[in-house]
């Protein structure tokens, strides 16, 4: 039998190795690393509840195979302790109580953190387009999430 190929990458700064074949990043995060902040919602890349940041880009962990992650830098909501931008977005979400059930929220936070890291002042409509494409919220927490986004944008604009 061929030996399983292992892939080395890092999660929130810590080195990780996982078998290349078979698993998704979400399965490794939740199952092996017991990082439960990225959540399974649909397993099909529609709802965005599993969104994490890989090499600076927001990706849906349920759709990310381990073999694609050689040398990758993976950030999850649990990185909030070390990643100041994730921590900042999360803090604004808590202050705005920008959630209802909270199941989809971590994914939205990670998408926003990635967008703000790439561009300090993204256009609001561009953010909405990304959220429309990649995130679903069933509770109707949208107005609060949009308020949190507006606050993030104003803060970012003021920082310039």
């Amino acid at each position: 039998m061929q030996a399983a190929r292992t892939i080395e990458f890092s999660v929130n700064g810590a080195p990780v190795s996982a078998e290349a074949a078979g698993s998704s990043l979400l399965a490794v995060l939740r199952g092996d690393l017991r990082l439960r902040g990225a959540r399974f919602g649909c397993g099909e890349g529609h709802c965005g509840a599993c969104t994490v940041i890989v090499n600076g880009r927001a990706v849906q962990a349920c759709q990310t195979p381990i073999w694609s992650l050689a040398g990758a830098d993976v950030r999850t909501i649990e990185a909030a302790a070390a990643d100041s931008l994730v921590a900042h977005v999360r803090k604004v979400f808590i202050e705005e109580q920008a959630a209802q059930c909270g199941y989809c929220t971590n994914g939205v936070i990670m998408t926003l953190a990635a967008l703000l890291a790439a561009d300090r002042t993204p256009a609001r409509r561009d953010i909405l387009a990304v959220l429309d494409e990649r995130h679903l919220c069933r509770c109707g927490a949208h107005p609060r999430i949009l308020r949190a986004i507006d606050r993030l944008l104003n803060v970012e604009a003021a920082r310039r």
Partner: protein
């Protein structure tokens, strides 16, 4: 003497509600649970205010058959009204008992005590005593029934309260999906494509040979597998399907709920109201409205964890009612209820009867087969296809106006399959797998809540003065798909119909829709929210409409006994229909947690907008069409209206729940705004561009 709240009568010992935790903090145990709606925070805030305690200094246990009182279901916007009243009653009693103990310790009169931030102090004494300090001097096992009602205490702070559950959820845990137990295995249920199918053939050995599979359970038509890792269970479940064959009749294609509702005979017909005299009818109008099946479509898959130990079962569940679920599990498993403990654990947003209860039995069956604790999680397809659906509805309305344009006669006939098929309703066992196992326990025959709150007929009786009223509820059969409680039950459809019809009547009478409503409303609180919503929306500036932009109003008092809500929607109808703004005026009495209530109103408006504009579950002969979010679009971020909410709080009005009061008014406000924008009335939800085209074609 005010009677104690119903939940106190059902759970009369103080020790059922209040105790001292190991760390010396007070423990509040409640039967209402956190469904993502913030109810537990609000109830705890009520108790904390009564105890003069900071919210953080209270340990809250919510929903546990071993450790919390039985408050039935967390449903129907009753958490604040019932659960809040009960928690307040218990907290007031506890404070009094602890105060007596503190006074005895200080050697002073109770009246001389001060209590601040949960600490008692006495004049000329330097030290203070917390609740925990007095734990050894109080007897909390006392009867709560023979007590005076708590006096309205100092008004609690409504603002600055943060949700107790949210910070943990916005991190790496907090949901049942995130829970762990030592030795936990992962289960998946392999359900048929649709509900009326039986197992024809299974290659059990082939499934057992799949990588990672440790156990395969086959019990009648119930099939599941258990693996050590979740991803193994997931892959095995996908692979196992080719080793299972199902047989069964095809179900009718249901792409038009109106044709189906026309084709089935009613199970029962109830006339709710038939009174008054209609005099002076000058013109009669009638119209028929409908809504389709609506998928519950929780964002998180239904999940449960079950563990058998020495013949006793513990189940962790995101059910709305741990006690009703325990009773149903006991019947399904032929076990004694006292051998089952059901513990609530938070799930994704719940808007009524979803798959939570069903998956609890699934997990119990798999854990029994595996001889180990099992976590069972449904797939997205199961969630969309096997969770109960919100019931389709058809509302036939007719009315007569007199020569002054006043309504003198009103008929509302609503036809709908059951809106309640929860565990605990009717004689049967309302858990999916109970009907699938070899020793099958069938579900209840179709039943609905009786009035006045009603289910399919919820809010069928208008709050307006309409002369002679005839309100009829035709209960349709529970087939071919299971329907049950979805946020607001029949109120969404009935209010959509009543409030659409009010606009149609107003147009006939040549009166502004708000003026027309006020002319038929005597309830001062109803009038106040209608006026306030109009003011918020700048209603006076409403033009004649017809130019693609419109404003419309919808109003109701939820269940005719709960919160008052009026919504004005602004709609732009071009190649698509956009609800740009929603203005809501809400009277839920004294507000407990302003941001929590605002969250419920905002979420209620957005969700109702999604139902009303976009959602319809369809069924092909081989089963539900939607197996993925791709087949069941919901409102997205850029479609979300800008929402303004104002609370009216009449002096002395007791707190009412607000979770469901916005659904019906929002649906109607959108329909009325759309009619105003287009000069065209669409009476069938969802109000899609396609429906508009069809409406134009049939006119």
């Amino acid at each position: 003497m005010t009677a104690p709240p119903a939940d106190i009568l059902a759970n009369p010992r103080l020790a059922q509600w209040i105790g001292v935790a190991a760390d010396g903090r007070l423990r509040l145990s409640i039967g209402k649970v956190e469904l993502g709606q913030g109810a537990v925070t609000a109830i705890a805030a009520i108790a904390a205010a009564e105890l003069r305690l900071a919210l953080d200094d209270l340990v809250v246990v919510a929903g546990d058959t071993a450790r919390a009182p039985d408050e039935g279901m967390t449903a129907g916007s009753m958490s604040i009204e019932q659960g809040g009243a009960a928690a307040r009653w218990a907290a007031a009693a506890a404070r009094e008992i602890f105060a007596k103990a503190a006074a005895a310790r200080f050697g002073c009169a109770v009246a001389d005590l001060r209590i601040d931030e949960g600490r008692f102090s006495a004049p000329q004494r330097n030290e203070s005593l917390g609740y925990g300090d007095l734990a050894g001097e109080v007897d909390l096992d006392c009867d709560l029934r023979d007590r005076e009602a708590p006096a309205m205490g100092a008004r609690m702070a409504q603002t600055g309260i943060a949700r107790l559950d949210l910070t943990a959820k916005l991190a790496g845990g907090a949901f049942i999906q995130d829970m762990d137990l030592p030795g936990l295995l992962h289960g998946r249920v392999l359900r048929a494509p649709r509900q009326n199918m039986r197992l024809a053939r299974i290659d059990r050995a082939a499934i057992e040979a799949l990588p990672g599979v440790r156990h395969v359970a086959v019990d009648g038509d119930f099939i599941g597998l258990v693996a050590g890792r979740e991803d193994e269970a997931e892959r095995a479940a996908a692979a196992a399907r080719r080793h299972i064959e199902w047989r069964g009749e095809e179900t009718p294609a249901l792409d038009d709920e109106n044709a189906w509702m026309d084709s089935v005979a009613a199970v029962s017909v109830t006339t709710l109201v038939d009174e008054g005299v209609g005099a002076g009818a000058a013109q009669r109008i009638e119209a028929v409205y409908s809504r389709p099946w609506i998928a519950h479509a929780s964002i998180g898959p239904s999940t449960a964890i079950a563990e058998w130990r020495d013949g006793a079962l513990t189940v962790w569940t995101h059910s709305q009612g741990v006690y009703p679920l325990r009773a149903a599990l006991a019947r399904a498993l032929e076990a004694a209820p006292d051998k089952i403990r059901v513990v609530h654990a938070m799930g994704a947003g719940c808007y009524g009867h979803n798959g939570a209860d069903d998956v609890a039995l699934d997990a119990a069956l798999l854990a029994r087969a595996a001889g180990a604790p099992v976590r069972c999680q449904w797939s997205r397809a199961d969630e969309l296809a096997w969770s109960p659906f919100g019931a389709p509805m058809r509302m036939k309305l007719s009315a007569a106006l007199d020569s002054q344009g006043r309504i003198v006669e009103w008929t509302h006939e609503v036809s709908s399959p059951p809106h309640v098929a929860r565990p605990g309703f009717g004689e049967g066992v309302n858990l999916l797998a109970a009907a699938q196992i070899e020793r099958a326990k069938p579900p209840s025959p179709p039943v609905d809540f009786p009035g006045p709150a009603g289910a399919g007929d919820r809010n069928a009786i208008p709050l307006y003065a309409v002369g002679r009223r005839r309100i009829v509820h035709r209960l349709l059969p529970q087939w071919p798909v299971r329907t049950s409680a979805l946020r607001s039950l029949g109120a969404h459809g009935n209010i959509f119909a009543i409030e659409s019809f009010m606009d149609e009547l107003a147009a006939r009478a040549g009166v502004d829709p708000i003026e027309f409503r006020l002319a038929h409303l005597t309830d001062a609180r109803a009038r106040a929210v209608v006026r306030a919503a109009g003011r918020l929306a700048g209603w006076d500036a409403r033009d004649k409409g017809g130019a693609g932009e419109g404003r419309g109003i919808g109003f109701a008092r939820y269940k005719n006994s709960g919160g008052y809500c009026a919504v004005v929607a602004r709609v732009e109808a071009t190649d698509k229909i956009a609800v740009t703004h929603a203005y809501a005026a809400v009277d839920c009495g004294a507000v407990v947690h302003a941001d929590g209530l605002r969250n419920q109103i905002e979420g209620g408006i957005v969700q109702a907008a999604s139902w009303t504009l976009k959602e319809a579950a369809r069924f092909a002969p081989d089963g539900p069409v939607a197996q993925s979010w791709a087949d069941y679009p919901i409102l997205n971020f850029s479609e979300c209206p800008e929402i303004h909410v104002e609370f009216l709080e009449p002096d002395g009005a007791p707190s009412l729940g607000g979770g469901e009061c916005a659904a019906g008014p929002t649906a109607a406000a959108i329909a009325n705004a759309l009619a105003h924008a287009l000069g065209l009335r669409v009476r069938n939800m969802p109000l899609t561009p396609d429906r508009i085209r069809k409406t134009i074609e049939t006119q």
